[in-house]
Symmetry: C2
Subunit: 404 residues, 2 copies
């Protein structure tokens, strides 16, 4: 008789965003006349930029002709895209990454979920708290996290690194040395980031202690300050300790187009085993490449026209971030984030819990956000708003919150 | 110090198609004047059908406007596609499958690799021999297959079900009862299939013995005979024992477009745990949906125009299959397959090994095929040719083989 993976059954209840969706649906059913503004989930709203649309149409036409038709893609992704990535994201930052160290994929969520697979089951992970739920959940599914404490909402075999106002939302080095460290800067959900010097500290820590850093740089395009690294490979020594995950979802609005990539430098080894070889084996065996037309769209992201159009798009969202940040600050809220990231992180007023504030905001302002506690215990008492709405909705939402 | 997944290191050498690619490259380098014809890898060559191109262009335009832009897709895939699948692939066959039992994905390769993850590590798998390498390799990576015997080229903890001329390439029920049974009909690589009655036998066997069948129906569109099931859910009782994997790669030429789906009926349970829930959890946590534009292309596959155009495309390849089958038969080869599948499986002449015949064909006819032994020990002495080339190339290849 077949048996199921018991580790899957350890996962507590439902996913954060499902719970939100259910609560919102119930509210809408009860109050059909209320018009909701959603600043909760991190999905974009602006259409694809013209140069990307043009590239997509061109590639679709190619697929309609036998002479230019494309079947299975090369395992690592098309060279035209990997070369554009190297030039646009690494050479331009003085970071030494080669095209054959890049693995094109259908997005950073999949990669961030699958990457743990190449590590031993008894490796111990460290995560920021609060944190993007996928890092921990996928390690739970792999049986790597021990037992769950429903009261503390933590796993016995995970090292949590609190990121709160007290440490300026920058994690301290953990007391116990982990094997795998997940870092995401600019951060989801707090919207804060760390300086390049601080990141260098993490690289040094990892190299000294034999850790590997899984560095999620999905929000890199939103960096506005000079002393923040756009890639971990700007740091000395990162080639021997860091894997970097990148997304096209937030810099180019590809949440519904699906494209990302993972960088594994060939210098990153356990003994004489290159992690690059293991990921290549996974990629070749369990994955079959991003669509040709999508890879052409990705290439257009790096064209001169594409870059200019996307700079404008990111600017549009960052203006929303400013509207939220300034508006809430003026209304007396304690806010952070929003300067190098499209997320604003606010302290709930009057000692409300995150979920209490969620209900409060939904009922009083008809605005949907995300409870900080959904991202981890240290997120309790915080709340996330995203800058990915339209400008008009963003302004209206802040007005409503001010007028509560 | 982080450690790697040791199970990955158990995988022997390189992937079949990489070895072929290297041999072919070496031959081409040494013989630059020789024009090769490739009937090896199962990649399609015909362009996308006009109705699919039209759907893609339309969806691209939608992505360029804020009003019709699509971000993150629903977890299971868009309803318009899942409804089309239910109507086109199940209702039409009298098979009882609901739209919320369908999980849209980026292809059957990924799904066939990932599906093992929802099962316990100590479950024992059974595979046909020869077999599509992904089934076994992904179980090796999960630590489920025991130790490798390099002489026999088998794993100690895998049940092999030989499919040879002796049993008409239809597996016999194994002596030892497995937990998980991988079946693929019409079959890759043998090109043979089993009747609906025979498939019903497997469903009955699975229900009786508490096995789950992972049924790969990627080549369903090539079925030409009436007594062959197009879906395992045509069989009585399949809802309690079978998962079905479907691909758009071969019926619609989506190898470079990437679309597939997995069916898990809600009646399929281990105790009171629905496998549907586990796969939903994996899908929601480690995957983020197929691109909107690709799902619209998938919908077009089921339109009246799409169906007519794709029937023609499948007919084109099946005509190639006939050319190969008849040509080789007339030349004195022992051939099978090619009637309900785009693969022709031939016995190597003069007791050559599969790889000897590969080299022989490459050198004497400059034709690339796939050695049967690459798919498993019982494939030794066989060779696979695919019908996915152009008609002209297919005719030319057979002429060359005849003239050796």
């Amino acid at each position: 008789m077949f048996k199921v993976n018991e580790d899957y059954l350890k996962l507590p209840g439902s996913y954060l965003f499902s719970t939100i969706a259910k609560k919102v649906a119930a509210f809408s059913d009860a109050n059909p006349e209320k018009e909701l503004i959603r600043l909760g989930i991190g999905d974009v709203t602006q259409p694809l930029a013209p140069s990307i649309i043009e590239a997509l149409h061109g590639a679709v036409d190619e697929m309609g002709n036998a002479e230019t038709f494309h079947g299975y893609a090369p395992d690592l992704g098309y060279e035209f895209l990997r070369n554009a990535i190297v030039k646009g994201d690494y050479e331009s930052r003085g970071a030494d990454i080669a095209a054959d160290e890049i693995f094109v994929s259908d997005g950073a969520k999949c990669d961030s979920g699958n990457i743990q697979e190449i590590f031993a089951k008894d490796n111990k992970i460290a995560v920021c708290d609060p944190v993007y739920p996928v890092y921990v959940d996928t390690n739970v599914m792999a049986g790597r996290t021990g037992t769950y404490d429903p009261k503390k909402e933590t796993w016995s075999n995970v090292i949590y690194m609190p990121c709160t106002a007290e440490n300026n939302f920058a994690p301290d080095f953990p007391d116990e040395v982990p094997d795998i460290i997940y870092l995401c800067f600019p951060n989801n959900p707090t919207g804060s980031t760390i300086t390049k010097d601080q990141l260098q500290g993490w690289v040094d820590y990892a190299n000294k202690n034999g850790c590997v850093i899984i560095y999620d740089a999905a929000y890199e395009a939103y960096i506005s300050e000079d002393n923040v690294a756009h890639t971990i490979y700007e740091c000395q020594g990162a080639r021997t300790c860091a894997i970097e995950l990148k997304s096209f979802s937030k810099n180019a609005g590809f949440t519904g187009v699906r494209l990302g990539y993972t960088v594994i430098p060939k210098d990153l080894k356990a003994g004489d085993v290159m992690l690059h070889s293991l990921w290549a084996r996974r990629h070749g065996t369990k994955y079959n490449g991003a669509p040709y037309i999508v890879q052409r769209a990705g290439e257009a992201v790096y064209s001169e026209a594409g870059k200019a159009q996307l700079k404008e798009q990111v600017g549009y969202y960052m203006n929303n971030a400013k509207v939220i940040f300034e508006g809430l600050k003026n209304a007396g809220y304690t806010v952070s984030g929003g300067v190098n990231a499209p997320y604003i992180w606010l302290k709930t007023p009057d000692n409300m819990t995150s979920w209490e504030f969620f209900d409060f905001l939904l009922e009083k302002a008809n605005v949907v956000g995300t409870p900080g506690s959904g991202f981890g215990p240290s997120g309790e008492g915080y709340f996330r708003l995203t800058a990915f709405g339209s400008y008009d909705n963003t302004v209206a939402a802040i007005e409503r919150i001010k007028n509560i």
